[in-house]
Amino acid sequence: MTDKRILSVSAIKNGTVIDHIPANSLFKVISILELDKLDTQMTFGTNFISKKLGQKALIKISNKFFEDAEIDKIALVAPEAKLNIIEDYQVIEKRDVEVPDKIVGIVKCMNPNCVTNNENVLTKFDVISKKEVTLKCCYCEKITDQDHLKII
């Protein structure tokens, strides 16, 4: 009975499934992709058991297909995320996310004296390293590394 109910909300006809999101990053992903502003049907699931991540979350979005540049933004908080593109209930494409070369918004510059932390300025970074994510602020030129990465 319970299983049936999950199934009935799970399957989507057309759209995108984002899997392997670390459970504690679910709401960050929602905010980065601005899913709260979409009016299509969505399902969020969290705290599923994952061998790789411990606890993972998953998002299913009907009738929504992301541009690469748009979806790659979530690589900062969910580097292992997997995308399944669904058409007519079938997975027609799978892909990984990749940290983009430039990050606009999303991340806070860790330099408290940076103009972006004191005036109303959208942050902007060049990505210096993708493995251990290292960002260089385009304004103050200081480095924000993985350990100090804060999502706005």
Partner: protein, 302 residues
């Protein structure tokens, strides 16, 4: 370079750096010209820096330009809470070029994005001060005849000193050898060493420089501030190791010049001033020619 803001020394290619230096050389020979007649230059000093401001204003005045602006934020609308963006937009309407000094890191880059006229960064917090760097390059080229293959000693606070970081980046285009002389706590940050490694540039680190100074073409002195030390005892222990005295210049190269961004406190003993190798006061004068060159090339007049 026409209409291009100067925010960071890395904005200019080596060719552009050399071009500015050449033009500065022309202004040195002929510092009074009327080429800025009818132009209005805004000097917006959100924090006071009399030395830098006077240098810019002297440069503009000698070229027949007019100046508007303020000398510290307390006397301006900024005090009333106006955003940086609004100030810059407004001043863009009144001027042909904005010279800006501001206490926040990155403020100059942001100003250049919202301004409708070019912006010259006269210091943004601890980040960049590119006109200082260009005047240092001009001073080096003028005294050495070249920027290539020089042995450059950077002395003092190499951790926080933005002038040494900019100079390091700019000189790296010209195959230098660097000798870094600083106390343990104020060593050159790793990111610069990685940068030099990547470029294949030779550098050496020392805690003391008295026995190696004979190799130097340029000695660039900086001030060590007591506040930079977590342990005040440490400051007391090291402070005298980074003072240059006249006797130390005895066996140095003929072409050696001592540079300092000024103001100095006690890191260069006054007995050095009369030595012909002391160059820091002329260096400051070179700032006027360099700023004349920067402003007139950005306005497309040179």
């Amino acid at each position: 370079m026409k209409n291009k803001s100067l925010i960071s020394i890395n904005d200019y290619t080596p060719e552009e750096l050399l071009k500015i230096i050449d033009i500065a050389g022309e202004f040195e020979k002929n510092p009074v010209q009327d080429i800025l007649r009818g132009k209005v230059i805004a000097t917006l000093f959100f924090e006071p820096s009399t030395r830098t401001r006077l240098s810019f204003e002297s440069a503009v005045n000698r070229l027949g330009g007019r100046i508007i602006g303020f000398t510290d934020a307390s006397s301006s609308s900024v005090k009333k809470g106006e955003s940086l963006k609004d100030t810059i937009r407004t001043v863009s309407n009144y001027s042909d070029l904005i010279v800006m000094r501001h206490p926040l890191d990155g403020s100059a880059r942001y100003a250049s994005e919202v301004a409708t006229v070019p912006v010259v960064n006269a210091g943004d917090g601890a980040n960049q001060h590119p006109t200082q760097c260009l005047l240092d390059l001009f001073s080096i080229k003028k005294t050495q005849g070249t920027l290539e293959n020089l042995n450059i000693f950077l002395v003092g606070d190499l951790k926080y000193g933005r002038t040494v970081h900019s100079l390091l980046m700019a000189m790296s285009n010209f195959n230098p050898t660097f000798n870094f002389i600083s106390p343990e706590e104020l060593r050159i940050p790793n990111e610069y060493k990685l940068f030099l490694d990547k470029k294949g540039i030779k550098y050496y680190e020392h805690l003391d420089f008295s026995d190696i100074i004979s190799k130097a073409d340029i000695v660039y002195m900086t001030r060590i501030q007591r506040e930079r030390f977590s342990d005040p005892m440490e400051y007391e222990k090291v402070k005298n190791s980074y003072v240059l005295h006249n006797y130390m210049l005895k066996d140095t190269k003929d072409n050696l010049k001592i540079l300092h961004p000024l103001p100095r406190v006690n890191e260069i003993s006054e007995d050095v001033d009369e030595n012909e190798k002391a160059y820091y006061f002329t260096q400051a004068l070179n700032g006027v020619f360099t700023r004349q060159a920067i402003i007139s090339s950005i306005l497309g007049l040179k």
